[in-house]
């Protein structure tokens, strides 16, 4: 909401500079976003009068004029063709500046001295839409009538006028010298979307007095009720409809003061009737609509819901299909306006309009909001209407408008007002519980002070009963806490003394087991050299193909966003692999040598409905959110770097009972270099080398490795606190063995046998060599282990170890057909 200070000052005294004013308003709850200084860039431009006009001796297109600028007469060379002797024009003097950081200096044009520049409206920073009397091209010739009206009290003595206006700052003359304060008004305060409402807040903020506009209507006789009627058929959507009738309408430009105010508030002046409705909307916060009365069939207004198949051409020239349920204003036959949104072309006020029916109504905010949204036309009117308007303001605003119409000679006001008010409500009253207010705020504001604050914003307080009557424009104030806010914002939020929940019951500030385990995951991953990434939870449906997911994969069944920013953000991801690969790709293509990354995030699964976690609230419409640990890496790494990371994670979380099982059918991964992680028989994730096709899809030109692990399954199997085991007291015995086995035998098979056969004295098995090549027959490999034995209670004898070794070697021979090699 733009509030010109001049306009505000009509209703409240502001005795501080604009900056201080803005600061004070912000701190009492009307946030100032900025102050615009009108005409800030127009410096040293004054009114001048053309005294002579001659052709330039050496240039056909230039003219030389003497111009009276008050304290002197100066010569100016101009290329403009539209000036005449006696015209009043804006003159940029030597050393002046214009918008766009344009500096004007005296100089010579084709040898003739020029001491300034005559300005067009564009050069002053405006357009002909702001100043309809300005020519599109050429110098802005100031209206003599305007100057006379403003500076010579209508006197026709030209000498007197010249003495008053020549040399005057153009900003003052055009009324572009105001400070305009831009307020951010929150949706709960539609009353502040008006100059009057802001003036009220300003007065309460600064402790000055607030003057409401004085409204008195000069009626011209007749009786509106005999000439027009209003019927509200859907009172649920229209609690109040007031109307007045204006006859002998004269459409003409508005007076300068009104145009200046509108311009300052960011509205273009059009003609007196349109300007008055806009002026009153800005001043009082109530949107008005003027119908050409002669086009209202049956001289009747009906407020009703639209019917099936109805449509209307709105003022912007668009044909709008109306849905049943949208509220319209109709005459006896057809819709003439979309209620609270926009009028219809069929009853538009034009230059030829003779009679006007002026509407000031309140429609249901939600209904207006839905209608405006569906029709895609939010207007100044609808955005006010949808926040809920003051029912009692409708008739005042209407009277204010017809007062201006009469005063400005725009028409004659027929006596009487139509006022259909089916939604009249009693004013709200709230008990003033000042102890409770102080208790909520942690303050010690006296009762008197509270009452004074509330009265300053027009709440009435009955001290005998301690009752507050809430003004009708403050729908948002419903109970004690709302009164507390009123008190607090004028008492000063920053006068509230800080305290720290003293004397309250202690609460435990601890992390849950799950949260501690998540910390462990972060620690382990970073300690292993992996950096954490964050990626979007949205995805594009094309990602599934990019990772080779089969068409029938359940991961393709994703939660779909109904109003996404674009297809690439249109589903909630069911897998984090594409995002990890995208990040690896970004880094790879930026020539980052190595990346070791992980992400702790969620995927969103529709596989099973979410279980309700709050009594009485069905959450089955929500997906299950699966916390996922994704690991990704490329560089001087291989499968076993990734496996090592997974293993150290399992060790850190003290997960036992896990196994790695070859996964050769996962189309995202390399068929021979991929493993599933199972914990106690349940699959908890998959990891491996990314399939070369998938790498190609992501434009990664090197091998990359990815793991996806379900965090809940890791944490669910995390072990308890470590329990100390005695350090060994007796020495260990180490035996190395090497064997030839068939290539396809996995070391896990060898280790399982050693494990089974070695008995209780086995302490550790260490794989130290796997070799294929020279001296090893084709299809075979050499595998070497250190086997470490130890007993808890004695020093092992050779015999103990030999016995175990014999069993192991037998097992390997018979189980795997292993050939022992000499050590």
């Amino acid at each position: 909401m733009k509030a010109p200070l001049k306009w505000l000052r009509k209703y409240v005294d502001i005795n501080v500079c604009p900056k201080e004013f803005a600061e004070a308003m912000t701190m009492s709850g009307s946030k100032v976003e900025g102050i615009e200084k009108q005409g800030e860039e127009v410096l040293n431009v004054v009114v001048g009068k053309i005294l002579t006009r001659e052709k330039h001796p050496d240039a056909d297109k230039l003219q030389v004029s003497m111009v009276d600028v008050g304290k002197e007469k100066i010569q100016i060379v101009t290329g403009a063709q539209n000036i005449e002797v006696g015209d009043y024009v804006p003159i940029a003097l030597d050393g002046s500046s214009l918008p766009g950081d344009k500096k004007i200096k005296k100089g010579k044009l084709r040898g003739v001295e020029s001491n300034g520049m005559m300005c067009s409206i564009q050069e002053l920073g405006y357009t002909k839409y702001d100043f309809p009397d300005a020519e599109e091209h050429g110098i802005y010739i100031l209206s003599k009538n305007l100057l006379t009206e403003k500076y010579a009290a209508g006197s026709s003595d030209e000498k007197e006028l010249d003495s008053k206006v020549l040399g005057k700052d153009i900003r003052e003359v055009l009324g572009i010298d105001d400070d305009i304060v831009e307020f951010e008004i929150t949706p709960n305060r539609p009353d502040c979307l008006s100059i009057v409402g802001l003036a009220r807040e300003a007065a309460a903020t600064m402790g000055t007095s607030f003057r409401k506009p004085e409204i008195n209507v000069k009626e011209a006789g007749g009786n509106i009720n005999e000439q027009a009627s209003v019927e509200i058929r859907d009172a649920d959507l229209c609690p109040r409809y007031t109307a007045r009738l204006i006859k002998n309408v004269k459409i003409q430009p508005s007076p300068e003061w009104m145009k200046e105010s509108l311009r300052a508030a960011g509205i273009r002046p059009i003609n007196n009737i349109v300007d008055i409705t806009n002026y009153v909307m800005l001043e009082m916060g109530q949107p008005l609509h003027a119908f050409d009365f002669d086009y209202l069939k049956g001289r009747k207004i009906i407020v009703r819901r639209a019917v099936e198949g109805e449509s209307i051409e709105t003022l912007d020239g668009n044909m709008r299909k109306l849905e049943p349920g949208m509220l319209v204003i109709s005459d006896a036959e057809r819709a003439v306006a979309v209620a609270g949104v926009m009028g219809g072309g069929n009853s538009e006020v034009t230059e030829n309009t003779k009679s006007i029916l002026l509407e000031s109504a309140v429609f249901n905010g939600t209904s207006v909001r839905i209608t405006a949204k569906k029709l895609g036309m939010r207007t100044e009117a609808s955005s006010r209407m949808e926040k809920g308007l003051d029912l009692n303001n409708a008739s005042n605003a209407l009277d204010r408008a017809v007062q201006l119409i009469a005063e400005l000679g725009a028409g004659e006001v027929v006596s009487g007002m139509i006022d259909c008010y089916p939604g009249k409500v009693e004013p709200r009253s709230i008990k003033l519980e000042y102890e409770k207010i102080n208790a909520l705020l942690g303050t010690d504001v006296s009762q008197e002070e509270m009452i004074a604050i509330l009265r300053s914003v027009e709440f009435s307080v009955d001290e005998a009963t301690n009752t507050v009557i809430v003004p009708s424009f403050r729908e948002d104030v419903e109970e004690m806490a709302d009164l507390a806010e009123e008190v607090a914002r004028f008492y000063g939020y920053n006068n509230i003394k800080p305290t720290l929940l003293t004397g309250k019951e202690m609460t435990r500030g601890i992390k849950s087991f799950k949260q501690r385990m998540e910390e462990s995951i972060l620690d382990t991953m970073t300690a292993n050299g992996f950096s954490e990434i964050y990626t979007y939870s949205f995805a594009s449906p094309s990602i599934f193909d990019k990772i080779n997911l089969p068409l029938d994969s359940e991961l393709r069944n994703a939660v779909v966003v109904s109003n996404p920013l674009g297809t690439e953000f249109s589903i909630m991801r069911t897998t984090t692999i594409p995002d990890m690969l995208t990040v690896l790709s970004t880094n790879y293509n930026r020539r980052v040598e190595e990346a070791r990354l992980f992400e702790l995030s969620r995927t969103y699964s529709k596989k099973a409905p979410r279980k309700s976690q709050i009594e009485g609230k069905d959450e089955s419409a929500l997906p299950v959110e699966i916390e996922t640990l994704t690991i990704g890496l490329y560089g001087k790494v291989d499968f076993y770097d990734l496996k090592g990371a997974v293993e150290s994670l399992l060790a850190e979380l003290r997960v036992t009972g896990y196994e790695f099982i070859r996964e050769s059918e996962n189309p995202t991964f390399h068929p021979g270099r991929t493993a599933a992680l199972t914990i106690n028989g349940e699959k908890a994730g998959v990891f491996g080398e990314v399939h070369p096709d998938v790498l190609d899809n992501f434009e990664i030109g090197t091998k990359a490795y990815v793991a996806v692990l379900e965090v809940e399954k890791l944490i669910g199997n995390a072990g308890a606190t470590a329990q100390y085991k005695h350090l060994p007291k007796f020495p260990a015995v180490t035996r190395d063995i090497a064997m030839l086995v068939k290539d396809e035998i996995m070391v896990k098979q060898i280790e399982d046998i050693i494990q089974q056969r070695a008995g209780k004295i086995l302490e550790e098995i260490k794989l130290f060599d796997v070799y294929k090549g020279k001296q090893v027959p084709e299809g075979m490999k050499s595998v070497a282990y250190s086997i470490i034995f130890r007993a808890e209670d004695r020093t092992l004898t050779d015999e103990d170890v030999n016995k175990a070794m014999t069993k192991i070697l037998d097992g390997l021979k018979t189980g795997l057909d292993a050939q022992l090699r000499e050590q």
């Binding site: 939020y493 992390k511 954490e532 990040v583 990346a595």
Partner: protein, 339 residues
């Protein structure tokens, strides 16, 4: 014999003084003190002495031995010292060559900010609560006193799944979940991912992170809110940080405030970071609306509470002097390794 002994001592002393290596010294030890050494052979001749002479010569011989031994020890020590010094000199290395580092990874800067916030509030007795990101409209809006079709919904451009399911626009729905499942006293913070339909640019992202705080107890005041936020601001932005509350409107708090902290760049005098204002808006806060309390089954006549919420990206950008939000999700390793 006496002269002989004195002669040994003198020559030993002389030779020891000029010995250049441990080996030379060892040779001298053998020469003088060894089994076939000079001193030993002199002593061997002691049997020929008279009973009076024997103890005198014996004592002298002993003195000579002690003398040689002690000189020898000292010489060995000196020489070893010299050799060590020489060795140390030879072992000089170029200490400007690179160190061998363990290659640690880094927590994401957003995690680091959330960690810090968590730490502040855990220390003040808060627990950490979580909730779903795909959320019921009821928890995200209605329980937060934002009915369907209310103008407040415009402030938060919402992604909808369907009429009743949204991507949560703030972490506030976790408040409702906590209040509905737990009795006061409640002190929680709720960090999490939230969604608003903003196009991606340097300062906007459709996915971002918030931390919500909620306290409900008997007799909680707005003063408690101010005090708590003050502690928080000082921990996060430095001991000299001041906070300022401006009245504002949130449907779920009453009274409501926007909270500024004094600019960490200039301390309040005005700079680029605060756009000359001296203050930077950092969070929204207020006393929990009685409507929200009632909706969540808590009697506002008995309990009161406060809530606050802040944007993690905003704090992280401020803290680490990051000028483009897109860096957070781009995940360039050279970016991640800086924090």
């Amino acid at each position: 014999m006496k002269e002989q002994l004195n002669g040994i001592q003198a020559s030993a002393e002389k030779e020891l003084a000029t010995a250049q290596s441990i080996q030379e010294l060892e040779n001298l030890r053998v020469k003088y003190l060894g089994k076939k050494g000079e001193l030993t052979s002199v002593l061997r001749g002691m049997g020929a002495l008279s009973a009076e002479e024997r103890p005198v010569i014996g004592q002298l011989a002993n003195e000579v031995r002690v003398f040689i031994e002690s000189r020898l020890d000292k010489a060995v020590k000196d020489l070893a010292g010299k050799e060590r010094t020489l060795k140390l000199k030879q072992e000089i290395i170029d200490i400007t060559m690179p160190g061998k580092k363990a290659n640690f990874g880094r927590r994401h800067p957003l995690t680091q900010v959330v960690d810090e916030i968590k730490e502040v509030f855990l220390g003040m007795g808060y627990q950490i609560a979580e909730g779903p990101e795909v959320e019921l409209d009821y928890f995200n809006f209605e329980a937060m006193n934002i009915p369907k079709n209310h103008p407040s919904r415009d402030v938060q451009d919402t992604f909808y799944i369907d009429d009743n399911v949204v991507l949560r626009t703030h972490t506030s729905p976790v408040q409702a979940r906590v209040m509905k499942s737990q009795n006061p006293p409640i002190r929680v913070i709720c960090p999490g991912r939230v969604y608003r339909s903003d196009e991606v640019d340097a300062t906007h992202s459709p996915v971002f992170h918030q931390v919500e705080g909620l306290v409900v107890d008997k007799g909680v005041t707005m003063g408690d809110l101010v005090g708590t936020l003050q502690v928080f601001a000082k921990v996060l932005f430095g001991e000299n940080t001041k906070i300022r509350l401006r009245p504002h409107h949130f449907p779920f708090t009453e009274p409501s405030a926007e909270v500024d902290v004094s600019c960490w760049g200039c301390g309040g005098s005005g700079c680029r970071i605060c756009k000359g204002e001296g203050w930077v808006e950092i969070l929204g806060a207020g006393m929990v609306s009685p409507k929200v309390l009632r909706e969540c089954g808590i009697d506002p006549n008995v309990y009161s509470g406060f809530a606050f919420g802040l944007g993690v990206e905003r704090v992280a950008m401020a803290r680490f002097n990051i000028d483009d939000m897109r860096l957070f999700t781009e995940n360039d390793v050279r970016f991640l390794k800086q924090f």
